[in-house]
């Protein structure tokens, strides 16, 4: 039963990561992404998925989807119904699933974050309904597969697994919240294992929306740089396999890292603008540290939300500087959105996997275009590739609407 449940354990379970899947414009899978982030490669190019000739911004971090999806239990008819976003989700999930070595199960939760789900199907539905209203071809299928829970079901069916599906849609904090929610399910004994992550594909509506807000950079995405002029959009997905330490040990699974802290809260300042001093960001970083039992001195790398907009980066820089105190002067910070753009509902999950990469491979992801720090940055922004000792990494995610999320991961050694 979901309610009432047994009381949570006195000592919450430790939660480890035994599988990770990722797809971004840097490539499909851990290896090309790790190589790209390590060297600070950028993946932006002219948008080809839809017409941007009338937009201010013309570039985004588009993904080249593989010619074929991995072999799963989905048949050709099912695969034909997957839109771009669902395909990204499937690719990331299959990688995480295979790495985890899990077997199909009937009660394995799937917690996902997304802002747009199958937006491309929604756009196609709208176009046809307006331009050819009496044609019903494909419309029922679009109306169903547009919905993120249906995409999630398809992914579980692909794996031959099943379980409760939770879709968190807290805008750009969704991916971080989804992983945090799954962490809580496991930590408090409500599940032993869970798949969690986030995904979003580029879509015309969303691109046009950020362009209309004049939030998109027309030059380079340079988070925390004094000359920054906006964000760049990207697309992608990341999924992690989470389980209790006991469960992982029992089956002898290789452990990639440990998820040790999570904080979330809502900033009521404005629908789209963060509090100028980053008050809620400060709160969630403190919350996450409290649950993790670490202090800023213990954090070796901070993957910032760092969108590259004037308001976000200034607010986040204030919060980081205040939270870190004296540690700020030596705390390496970067935003990997400089490489792959803002993945919206996928961002928090992808950035958690990037943190996992830094823990597993001991390097810091640089922002190669960064030159002049914003005055609010009292911390060094990583702008050259470098190896580093990374035992604890922190990842921030914030969304329209004000929900903030912070995850903290620890190296498994």
């Amino acid at each position: 039963m979901l309610f009432p449940t047994t009381s949570p354990p006195q000592t919450p379970s430790r939660v480890v990561i035994t599988g990770a899947g990722i797809i971004t414009a840097l490539g499909l899978g851990w290896k090309p992404n790790a190589e790209g982030f390590r060297t600070g490669r950028t993946a932006f190019r002219p948008v080809s998925l839809f017409d941007v000739s009338h937009q201010r911004a013309k570039r985004a971090a588009e993904i080249d989807l593989p010619a074929a999806l991995p072999s799963t239990l989905l048949n050709a008819k099912h695969i034909a119904r997957l839109d771009r976003a669902a395909s990204l989700l499937l690719l990331a999930t299959v990688e995480a699933w295979r790495q985890s070595g899990w077997e199909p199960a009937e009660n394995r939760p799937l917690v996902l974050g997304t802002t747009a789900g199958g937006m491309s199907l929604g756009e196609a539905y709208f176009r046809q309904a307006v331009q050819r209203p009496h044609s019903h071809r494909h419309q029922p299928t679009r109306a169903v597969h547009y919905q993120p829970q249906v995409q999630a079901r398809m992914v579980l069916d692909a794996l031959g697994s099943s379980g409760p599906i939770t879709i968190v849609s807290n805008a750009c904090a969704s991916g971080g919240n989804a992983i945090g929610h799954a962490w809580e399910l496991i930590r408090y004994g409500r599940a032993e294992c869970a798949l969690a992550g986030g995904y979003d594909a580029l879509s015309e509506l969303v691109f046009s929306g950020f362009d209309a807000l004049q939030a998109l950079s027309t030059t380079l995405c340079r988070p925390f740089d004094a000359r920054r002029d906006g964000l760049a959009l990207g697309e992608g997905a990341a999924v992690v396999a989470l389980e209790t330490l006991e469960h992982a040990r029992r089956r002898g699974a290789p452990i990639l890292g440990e998820l040790i802290g999570y904080g979330t809260a809502i900033d009521q300042h404005h629908l789209t603008q963060p509090h100028p001093q980053g008050d809620t960001t400060l709160t969630v970083m403190k919350q996450a540290c409290a649950t993790a039992g670490v202090t800023p001195e213990d954090v070796d790398y901070l993957n910032a939300h760092g969108t590259g907009t004037v308001l976000n980066d200034s607010s986040e820089a204030h919060a980081i500087s205040k939270w870190a105190g004296r540690r700020a002067a030596t705390l390496p910070v970067s935003s990997t959105k400089a490489s792959i753009g803002h993945l919206l509902g996928g961002a928090g999950a992808v950035e958690a996997v990037i943190c996992l990469m830094t823990l597993c491979e001991q390097w810091l992801p640089p922002e190669m275009a960064f030159e002049t720090p914003d005055p609010a940055c009292h911390f060094p922004v990583v702008h050259q590739p470098q190896d580093a000792r990374v035992n604890v990494a922190l990842s921030n995610s914030f969304g329209f609407g004000g929900v903030n999320a912070t995850l903290i991961l620890r190296r498994w050694a």
Binding site: M1, T5, N107, P140, Q149, I165, N170, L205, L271
Partner: protein, 358 residues
């Protein structure tokens, strides 16, 4: 686990802007009148049940955050304020409020308007509309109006996830992360949603609105209703059909007490309703089917079922009420609410109001 009580209820529906209007419509038992809904390219309009304009402009609309918001946010805020009304009088401002907003279609009005503008000329698409298209917008606005929200989340899924939202609220209370938690299900109507529903479920009549449950830990704040049970979500899959999931949900709820009310999710489509009809075939007690009176309100309809169940218990008509949610494409889930001072094992017959079918 701590006990969880219902401290207040709120509803906006085609019946009106409060729980009393919802109750009156359900008691009368007659389907509400429909209104035409134009859709581009068609001479014959679709039918929908629109939320009527409020008799008096709600004061909350003067809040600066609500200036440009769409109907779904108005529904969410109105239901939240109604559910919180009694609490807000005495609510310690330091009390931490949680907020879970559940949506299936979400902010379709501004999404359609913004995409329409984009297709016509993206250079002139309104930047005022875009932020209101995101699923998280209604939660953000209601948090700004209520002010003391410390934890908030928006869940998206089929209507059965409303009870997962209730479960999440109960979890936050149990973990002492909030003192009070609002769980709201909401939708708004527009032509493209009516068109999509028409493609998938011809007999259904689209409607919109919201329903809100305010949950608390403290018995003294209770409106006389206690959350007794929420089943596991029974996810549809290649190995579990909708029919099987509905049956599994029913089975987990176990035996009901004599006179217990069933708030089901039946509409007017025998095919879509078949799993729920089969799952409750042996139910002999009183039941109410809000969707048959109010229309297909998607997540709002799921919330109305819960509000109707809690309201029937709160006003003493029943000592217990069961909610059955057999979602359209994700899962089946059920719940039971009981009178707070009754003890779940001491259920008695309730009086059957107007439309409730014995």
């Amino acid at each position: 686990m701590n006990r969880v009580f219902v401290a207040g209820l709120g509803a906006v529906s085609p019946a009106g802007w409060n729980v009393a209007a919802l109750r009156e419509a359900l008691d009368k038992g007659a389907p509400l009148p429909t209104q035409p809904m134009e859709r581009p390219g068609w001479e014959k309009p679709l039918r929908a049940r629109l939320v009527p304009s409020p008799a008096v402009r709600p004061e909350f609309l003067a809040h600066p955050r609500l200036r440009r918001t769409s109907p779904i946010t108005h529904h969410v805020v109105a239901s939240a304020l109604e559910a919180m009304a009694k609490l807000r009088v005495n609510l310690d401002p330091k009390r931490r409020l949680g907020l879970v907003v559940c949506l299936q279609s979400g902010c379709v009005n501004y999404s359609c308007r913004f995409f329409d503008e984009t297709l016509k000329d993206p250079a002139t698409a309104s930047p005022l509309l875009f932020p209101e298209t995101v699923y998280a917008a209604p939660a953000s606005h209601v948090a700004a109006v209520l002010e003391n929200v410390s934890l908030a989340s928006t869940l998206v899924g089929d209507p059965a996830i409303f009870l997962e939202g209730v479960s999440l609220g109960a979890q936050w209370l149990d973990e002492n992360r909030v003192d009070v938690c609002l769980v709201i299900g909401a939708e708004e109507t527009n032509w493209i949603l009516a068109d999509a529903l028409w493609q998938l479920d011809r007999p259904a009549i689209l409607t919109g609105g919201a329903g809100a449950l305010c949950l608390c830990r403290e018995p003294k704040l209770s409106a006389g209703v206690e959350l007794a049970a929420i089943t596991d979500p029974q996810t549809y899959s290649a190995r579990q059909s909708r029919m099987e999931a509905a049956r599994a949900m029913r089975s987990q709820l176990g035996k009901s007490a004599p006179g217990e009310l069933l708030c089901d999710g039946l509409g007017n489509n025998p095919r879509a309703d078949a799993p729920e009809i089969a799952a409750w075939r042996d139910w002999t007690g009183p039941r109410v089917s809000p969707k048959r009176i109010l229309g297909e309100g998607l997540m709002a309809a799921a919330a109305w079922q819960c509000v109707a169940a809690c309201d029937a218990v709160a006003d003493g008509r029943f000592v217990a009420a069961t909610v059955s949610l057999v979602g359209s494409n994700q899962q089946a889930i059920g719940a039971r609410f009981v009178r707070a001072d009754s003890g779940i094992s001491h259920l008695s017959d309730g009086k059957s109001p107007g439309n409730i079918r014995p």
